[in-house]
Assembly symmetry: C2
Homo-oligomer: 382 residues x 2
């Protein structure tokens, strides 16, 4: 099997490939859906961690964004992105960095779900003379943080923020449990639960005379499955720009939509065991086994030829730090093709966020198939 | 619960902590054991990926080393370490970088287990006028690559290397399956299987008139459990300098020996579910679930207070990208202590190599308890 794309022949393996045409298709799909629902789209940049990707996924290249770390906020603020939600519960000792971002011109919004956090944000706001915008996290599915929309703490927290120097910006929820719902019908139920939870919370805040300009929902499955977002002002999603096997397994995308892969080289065989060894181990793929409990367990990833065509039935069945073991998926009836030492292959990841995080740059196959590869840097850390 | 070590109070969380005193104890333990067995120690630097750690673990600060990527070889060669084995099967298109390392003064040895690889190494050697040293990988436990010691290909590969311009340096094995053997007795069986496999292979090569100066075995469990290494010249191990919960689970160390942890901050609660949310998710811990199939499943890690004392029964039961969920281990009968928002905790990792790889530096607690923290950079990539 030859390398059909000569542009890949000189890349050191393992490395991360990004198919720009697929990414663009994914970006446009959700942008159009959000527009059709009449809500703003606030992409989550935690999967991308790349200014180049941000330029392509944000409205006009620098529109509203979501991040998962202050390091992301700092990099994107430096790139001129000024409307960012840091969507992880705030701790008091992170507020000096939040204030520094405001002083640098970035209108960073924090997230919280307790009175103690609200008091800390209000105190920091008063101390600095900067009204830190804060959203209250709402729990719509029992996934992790947040208050249920009928929790009396909601109004207490809202008042602490509004009356003590911070800016109550609104309510936010994320249906992380939708990652386990298969098909658009099941995902739409989570989308409606997200909508109902934040709209109820917003209604309660407003009835108490408190402001709630932003009503924010979203996850990749619910963002695509939502049919009616009445009362919601903005939609968030992250992995959709790349997609992955976990999302394909719950039918939020097809395998053909997956824009990320890891280029790897065959480095050995164990013929009696039906194994092909490659140089993409867990360091290149991550340890994410997100498909382990799905209907089809994809091991550490689905194997494609160097051109990106799936080799039916072949997956990475095991991974050591720098070794991947390719074999036929148990029960697939597939026959292992001859893959001689030196053959280049691509592996589609279980979880794009986790796999991308193992790499320092994207090697981009541009939409113009004749153009040379691009290298877009990624960053990491907190 | 207060931060007992004021040096930690200013660190941004999540971040990686390294207890230098524990690391030194671990380093000395294996160095003494190797000396008592009469073999050289060739530490594997794939876990550390740090010149500062290499200085402390290698003999005289720059002695024999093992690496898992050419990027590691390049960084350590730049630091003056000149005797390195790249212990992952070589692909032909990596040989130009191997030759560049030789030209820069690093005597890098490659690993292979097929005639096609041996021919490529021999051809590259002749082309460059540099005898690339190569070791033949031996399979002692069915774990991944390598020839069994009775495989006739062994002599064929040996001859290709020796007679065509490369340097046949010896034989190497790694009992990766020993990671699933609990206790020193069970691990000693793998150590003896490693020894027998490479000694048999070395004997066969020498009987055929081929050189075999280096006979290399090792993994962290077998290196510690080995009782007799007659015929072996060197021992390799990597994670032992840090240890982790996987190693503690198979009794290769105690939990108290674990030198790495992730410092984290409490960011929320779900009291009805018995959850404490922290800012160490899988991005900080890795997705490694290496204890999942051990006698005690440690989730995504064991929870300690900020001073490093284990909080009995508390583990990270779930992890999202930037959220960890701490709860009592099911069946532990533990009672969740009060851990208010802002509390600092430490999480011991399942797998030190995977957790460390998520971070850009070690925050080092020096052996001198009064000294300020050090920051040792890590590197990544291929």
């Amino acid at each position: 099997m030859s390398v059909t794309d000569t542009r890949l022949a000189t890349l050191p393996t393992p490395c991360l490939l990004l198919d720009e045409a697929k990414m663009t298709r994914n970006i446009n799909r959700l942008a159009q859906h959000a527009a059709s629902l009449g809500v703003a789209l606030r992409p989550h940049l935690k999967s991308a961690k790349s200014v180049e990707v941000a330029r392509r996924v944000l409205k006009d290249g620098n529109g509203p964004a979501t991040v998962s770390t202050l390091a992301e906020a700092e990099v994107f603020a430096q790139a001129g992105i000024t409307d960012i939600i840091y969507a992880v519960g705030i701790a008091a000792d992170k507020l000096p960095r939040v204030l520094d971002l405001h002083r640098a011109g970035c209108n960073l919004t924090v997230l919280l779900d307790s009175a103690v956090q609200a008091q800390a944000v209000a105190a920091a706001s008063r101390g600095a003379g900067i009204k830190i915008p804060a959203m209250i996290e709402i729990d719509s599915d029992g996934h992790r943080g947040g208050l249920t929309s009928d929790d009396p703490e909601l109004l207490n927290i809202g008042r602490i923020l509004h009356e003590n120097g911070a800016a109550l910006r609104g309510v936010l929820t994320h249906a992380g449990e939708s990652y386990f719902a298969v098909g658009a019908g099941a995902q739409a139920i989570f989308a409606e639960a997200e909508r109902a939870a934040v709209v109820n919370a917003a209604t309660a805040l407003r009835a108490a005379g408190l402001p709630c300009p932003v009503v924010s929902t979203g996850s990749t499955p619910t963002a695509h499955a939502a049919k009616d977002l009445t009362g919601v002002t903005e939609l968030r999603a992250g992995v959709y720009m790349f997609f992955d096997l976990v999302m394909a397994g719950i039918k939020a995308c097809t395998v053909d939509d997956i824009a990320l892969s890891v280029l790897t080289t065959v480095i050995g065989h164990q013929e009696k065991r039906g194994w092909v060894l490659v140089d993409a181990g867990w360091m290149a793929m991550s340890r994410d086994r997100g498909t382990a409990n799905q209907a089809v367990d994809q091991g550490y990833g689905v194997v494609c030829d160097a051109a990106g065509n799936v080799l039916p039935g072949l997956i990475v069945v095991q991974a050591n730090q720098e070794h991947g073991v390719i074999a036929c998926r148990p029960g697939s009836g597939a026959i292992l093709p001859e893959l001689s030492v030196g053959t280049k292959l691509r592996i589609l990841p279980n979880h794009a966020c986790a796999t991308a995080a193992q790499h320092q740059s994207y090697h981009v196959l541009p939409q113009d198939k004749g153009a040379p590869l691009l290298a877009w840097p990624r960053f990491s850390g907190w």
